[in-house]
């Protein structure tokens, strides 16, 4: 199962990628929304099961990425989780309205991240248990 981590911080990408790898995901990474769209395009039919998406990024921000992804019917099967410092209710509503499935506010603990994956039915470890 593939996961795509989108964040302009390499540190945050590595933190999330490490945890996803431990859970058994093959992890792809992108530093902004535009780069992430290119990654998704290159995946063909083998789309990531989930994308974790930072909000504030250069070039194309996370909300714009969600909107662009949802505009393509072929990509509607991807689960989208915002992972961001944007904690205001209005921002959460905007992201969910645009098509994000889950919303995780930074900072988060590893357990909180796994809990969100559980909510999406995307915890391979738990699925095998």
């Amino acid at each position: 199962m593939r996961a795509l981590v989108i964040d302009d911080s390499r540190t945050m990408r590595m933190m999330l990628a490490r945890q996803l790898t431990q859970l058994g995901f093959e992890v792809l990474q992108a530093g902004d929304g535009r780069e992430a769209l290119d990654v998704v395009e290159s995946c063909g039919d083998d789309l990531p099961a989930i994308a974790t998406i930072d909000w504030n990024m250069p070039v194309m921000n996370g909300l714009e990425f969600v909107q662009a992804l949802r505009a393509n019917p072929a990509w509607r099967g991807m689960n989208l989780m915002m992972v961001t410092t944007e904690a205001e209710q209005s921002q959460i509503v905007r992201a969910l309205a645009a098509g994000a499935h889950e919303y995780l506010i930074k900072p988060f603990t590893p357990d909180a991240f796994v809990d969100k994956l559980d909510l999406l039915g995307l915890n391979p470890v738990r699925s095998l248990a």
């Binding site: 390499r10 933190m15 900072p107």
Partner: protein, 174 residues
């Protein structure tokens, strides 16, 4: 804006206690709870190290600044990246890790303000003195902290929303 350690806090968009709670939560989430972030002595200057800033525009206009000494910045980076003691820490690693810390600080600080606001992208510089260009900024809240042996200072500056342009420093990101 030159950081004046003797400046008295003014304004109440965020209290010092709020700032301490936010900072300790972030440190615990990303760096673990074995070595908590603790209140430090305001008389102890951070000294040469890394200085990160992120601007906020909207309900709260201003700048959030994170200062951390060089050894502390390296240790924060090593812990966030889960690098071993022998793994080399590059300058770019520190810039990215400290930038992410100030980014998360900024997001959480702005979220307690009732009016929506927008976060800029982080700027990180190294050097002896923390100095960001922010004319007319007023110190709103400050915390002097320690993490292990590292000296850390977090300050919130309100006023005219500054562009996060360094007026000193040799490395930057943003």
């Amino acid at each position: 804006m030159s950081i004046d350690v003797n400046a008295a806090p003014t304004g109440f968009a965020i209290t010092d206690d709020d700032l301490l709670m936010i900072a300790t939560d972030i440190w615990a989430a990303y760096l673990g709870e074995e070595q908590p972030l603790m209140p430090g002595d305001p008389a102890n200057a951070v000294g040469p190290g890394w200085h990160a800033a992120i601007s906020v525009h909207g309900g709260l206009n201003g700048l959030i600044v994170l200062e951390i000494d060089a050894a502390g910045a390296t240790e924060v980076t090593r812990t966030m990246l889960a690098f071993g003691d022998e793994d080399p820490i590059e300058t770019g690693d520190i810039i990215d890790a400290i930038g992410e810390m100030v980014n998360v600080l900024g997001g959480n600080i702005k979220s307690i303000d009732p009016d929506p606001s927008t976060l800029g992208l982080p700027l990180v510089v190294s050097g002896d003195v923390c100095e960001f260009a922010a004319p007319d900024a007023t110190l709103n809240s400050v915390q002097n902290l320690t993490w292990g042996t590292a000296a850390i200072r977090i300050s919130v500056w309100s006023g005219a929303a500054p562009a996060p342009t360094p007026s000193s420093g040799k490395d930057s990101l943003s």
